[in-house]
């Protein structure tokens, strides 16, 4: 039963994935309502994802849903852009205005002159790409994020070299989870650039706490991380690498595994391509040099390689910092090669191929799927004008993002065609998503028409919007969690004033702008069609609570490459040109990229720019996750903000002493591109040469009255130190959020950031 009554409450079981909890997890929850209001959330013990456990963001849901600052009505600006003055309007007026302005832009300049930006990849990506394509624009992007450096680079690299993405196997594919007889507990978990404390279940579609479940069952832990986090503190082996050198470290481990003959000969022979070329490549490299580059001593590289290769099975979890490597797909290729060398692909307890349950996506993102839905002709036409498609083969052939760095540049130059409008939906780019937010601010404020759709009035909405539309949060929208395991329904049980679900807003506008592109009578009918491949309608999925693919299905492990379940032609092997895992990638070769995994130095570093390093001796690692907040959300939620009250920068005690900084002091961070202030958190957990900062900070309680500094973003936004336009050669990756150099000093008295 998805709905029942208990002690005067209406209780609904649903998946959590949307504004509210934030995150990319797939927890099952029981949402308690009284008089139409969300009053409590409990974990659903019948749900296999988290078995009744919940994160603090989900448990604080009622403070989010009923927050007094929620956007409640559509508004138009009642002064200059950024004046902080707004006037309530009706939904009719909001949609009429959008329709009229967007028609004007399409008629005068072409549909491609309107950019459609999303924030983090949750369910809102579907309605945004749906609206963009119905309108006729190919320019759907993760607006602001250099190199689309969050998950897409990992997805791109894996898809190119092995035809699919993998997830670490924590038995999430089976209803009985760890008790399923086919599952094996990994002997070793190699946790690479992960932060389970921060991401919990928030980043990467599986729970960070699965690691704990498996540690309790005997898994040992190798951790690769510059930071002495909780996992490092519990690790059997910890490799403290220099930020941005993951590719070099992985090449070192590959070298040891090959040269000591520790690789899985059977798997390598049957299922891989280009082994000899990889072997020749690592033969040219020396472990001493790799140790110098990575800061990891040779003996630890050797120990890690031996421990990982000896474990049967071993699994690797890899995190977002990989996407920030200078040439991200090349680093990720190196990490994935470790799985293939040791035969840890689609094996019980290893790295298993992960596809959406039964192949369901509520709306398609990949080029292959878009072709299935709209046809090759449509995709070819879109690629003619898609920003970056001519420059980056992965944009053209893999995933249809317009390239964020090039979108910004085109907004500024108007070349090869002008950009005139921005549809910005659940993307708070001025506070979180964008690198070089000042460039984004200047560029977007020059456009003719900007719309922001969000749950709260953000710095982004204050600074750039002409029209603001209130979006429904979780419990206020119909949707589905399709990118992870299991497939979960999300459905509307309550509402906040006039807030509307993303799909409803975009569906209505798409129908007005291009009725032919919207053959469905309503959003539910669209969902019914998309879910039908899983044998579900929207209602039946809601009733079922969640869905997993049965064993034997191509979307359920194991050993699918042996069974002919991965390739479209039904032959054994992987979905690559050779049918094998490619150490030497023929796709990369075709696209003019280095076919072998390799390391590229960051834009700034002790090696690439020693002169700059002398003046700016510290490495800034930003984007640090914290479990009580998700990206730029939750700063206004009392139960969560009290746990993480100030925008911090973590500094080692020796470094702090050197610069005369004490815990709690306001600190100025300066880099070659910009500066920001943060509150010092002095801790021995960070490396003396590395300072660590959370991203996404703004101060919602600092009321905005039009001074051009909405919610203090220009004081504290750490992304002001990070440039745009240095994304990887492949296009995807290289946001530089982990590797820019900086210096720090104590902020002078009277110049601290005040929240009043």
């Amino acid at each position: 039963m998805h709905e029942y009554e208990e002690d005067g409450y209406q209780v609904y079981k649903m998946g959590l994935w949307s504004p509210g909890p934030g995150c990319h997890g797939g927890c099952g929850a029981e949402v308690y309502l009284k008089d139409g209001k969300v009053v409590k959330v409990e974990g659903d013990e019948d749900h296999p994802y988290h078995q009744g456990r919940l994160c603090p963001r989900a448990l604080a849901l009622r403070q989010y849903i009923h927050h007094p600052d929620r956007l409640k009505y559509p508004m138009k600006r009642a002064g200059e852009r950024g004046s902080g003055k707004w006037e309530r309007i009706s939904w009719d007026e909001a949609l009429d205005t959008c329709e009229q302005k967007m028609r004007d832009i399409r008629e005068k300049y072409g549909a491609e002159s309107m950019v459609f930006g999303q924030g983090t990849g949750r369910d809102s990506g579907g309605p945004i790409i749906f609206l963009a394509y119905a309108y006729g624009s190919p320019n759907w992007t993760l607006f602001g994020l250099s190199g689309i450096a969050c998950f897409t680079p990992r997805l791109a690299a894996c898809t190119m070299v092995m035809g699919d993405m993998t997830f670490p196997d924590a038995a999430q594919f089976f209803p009985a989870r760890y008790d399923d007889p086919d599952w094996k507990c990994p002997e070793v978990i190699l946790s690479w650039a992960r932060n389970l404390q921060g991401s919990q279940c928030a980043d990467h579609y599986f729970s960070g706490h699965y690691v704990i479940d498996m540690m309790k069952r005997g898994a040992k832990l190798i951790v690769v991380d510059p930071y002495n986090g909780w996992e490092a503190s519990r690790a059997d082996l910890w490799l403290r690498l220099r930020p941005g050198t993951d590719g070099a470290l992985a090449m070192g481990m590959i070298k040891v595994i090959i040269e000591e003959g520790l690789y899985d000969q059977d798997f390598v022979e049957k299922w891989t391509f280009g082994f000899d070329k990889l072997k020749d490549e690592v033969a040219t490299q020396s472990l001493d040099e790799i140790a110098q580059i990575t800061w990891v001593p040779v003996e630890k590289i050797v120990e890690a390689a031996r421990m990982y290769a000896a474990a049967k099975p071993a699994q690797m979890r890899f995190g977002q910092p990989l996407d920030s490597n200078a040439e991200a797909v090349a680093s990720i290729h190196a990490l994935a090669s470790l799985w293939a060398l040791t035969g840890n692909i689609d094996n019980p307890g290893g790295n298993v191929i992960s596809r959406p349950v039964k192949g369901v996506t509520v709306y398609p993102y990949s080029t292959v799927e878009v072709i299935q839905l709209y046809g090759q002709e449509f995709v070819d036409k879109m690629n003619e004008k898609r920003i970056g498609a001519d420059k980056y083969p992965l944009v053209k052939n893999f995933r249809s993002w317009a390239m964020s760095d090039d979108v910004l540049e085109q907004m500024e130059t108007g070349k090869p065609y002008p950009i005139k409008g921005l549809w910005c939906q659940t993307n708070n780019f001025l506070a979180g998503t964008a690198q070089d937010p000042r460039r984004h601010y200047e560029a977007v404020r020059k456009l003719d028409f900007n719309v922001v759709v969000d749950t709260f009035m953000t710095p982004t909405a204050q600074a750039i919007a002409d029209i603001v539309q209130p979006a429904g949060a979780i419990t206020e929208k119909d949707s589905a969690f399709t990118t992870g395991i299991p497939l979960n329904p999300i459905y509307k049980v309550a509402e906040t004033e006039e807030a509307r679900m993303d799909w409803e807003i975009n569906f209505e506008l798409a129908k007005r702008l291009n009725p032919q592109a919207v053959p469905w009578p309503n959003v539910r009918a669209l969902f019914d069609q998309r879910l039908s491949v899983a044998g579900h309608s929207f209602d039946s999925l809601v009733e079922a609570g969640w869905a997993l693919a049965p064993k034997g299905d191509p979307t359920c492990p194991y050993n699918r490459h042996e069974k002919g379940l991965l390739r479209p032609d039904g032959q054994p092997g992987f979905r690559t040109p050779s049918g094998k895992f490619e150490f030497y990638s023929q796709k990369f070769e075709e696209y003019g990229l280095n076919p072998l995994p390799h390391h590229v130095e960051p834009l700034e570093s002790e090696i690439s720019t020693p002169e700059i390093h002398k003046e700016y001796p510290l490495i800034l690692c930003t984007g640090r996750r914290v479990g009580v907040m998700f990206h730029s959300e939750h700063r206004m939620i009392p139960w969560l903000r009290e746990i993480n009250p100030d925008p911090p920068v973590e500094i080692h005690p020796d470094t702090a002493a050197k610069y005369g900084i004490k815990d709690g002091d306001w600190v100025l961070l300066e880099g070659t591109y910009g500066k920001a202030k943060r509150k010092a958190k002095v801790t021995p957990l960070t490396h003396p040469e590395v300072v660590v900062a959370q991203h996404g900070w703004w101060i919602p309680e600092a009321r905005y009255e039009g001074d051009g500094n909405p919610y203090k973003v220009w004081d504290i936004n750490i992304n002001q130190l990070i440039p745009m336009g240095h994304n990887s050669k492949s296009g995807f990756g290289g946001a530089l959020t982990k590797t820019m150099l900086c210096r720090i000093s104590k902020v002078k008295e009277g110049e601290e950031v005040s929240y009043a």
Binding site: G43, D213, G229, W230, L640, L685
Partner: protein
């Protein structure tokens, strides 16, 4: 013999924390505030972070969820056969509710546990 003798002797209940696995996620704190409708600044459980040097020079991080004077061990929930809100939602599944004597027995076998008896 008083008829409620048994209930007077009913064993004390407590919370056992296996702090080897507590990751400091704060679910216990927020679950408690939600359950009891406590505002920010008040709650039945408070998470402490303890950072200590290990013999190899690296640092160990431990978290202890500590019960405050507001903790009633979720009397309303446990009377209905439910786990306390903090125990149920603990993401690392590292908190245990039960009779103190039973919980203490677990400590005889395993190190790195603390036992809390708030009432």
């Amino acid at each position: 013999m008083p008829r409620d003798f048994a209930s007077k002797r009913s064993p004390r209940k407590g919370l056992l924390i296996d702090y080897d696995y507590c990751t400091g996620c704060h679910s216990c704190e927020v679950a408690c505030k939600q359950e009891h409708d406590y505002p920010a600044g008040k709650g039945g459980i408070h998470l402490s972070e303890i950072i200590t040097e290990k013999p190899d020079g690296t640092y160990r991080i431990d978290y202890i969820p500590f019960t405050t004077m507001y903790c009633d061990l979720c009397a309303g929930r446990t009377a209905n056969g439910l786990q306390p809100a903090c125990v149920k939602h603990c993401q690392a599944a590292t908190m245990f509710y039960g009779d103190v004597a039973d919980l203490a027995k677990i400590m005889e076998d395993k190190p790195h546990h603390v036992l809390l008896t708030p009432r």
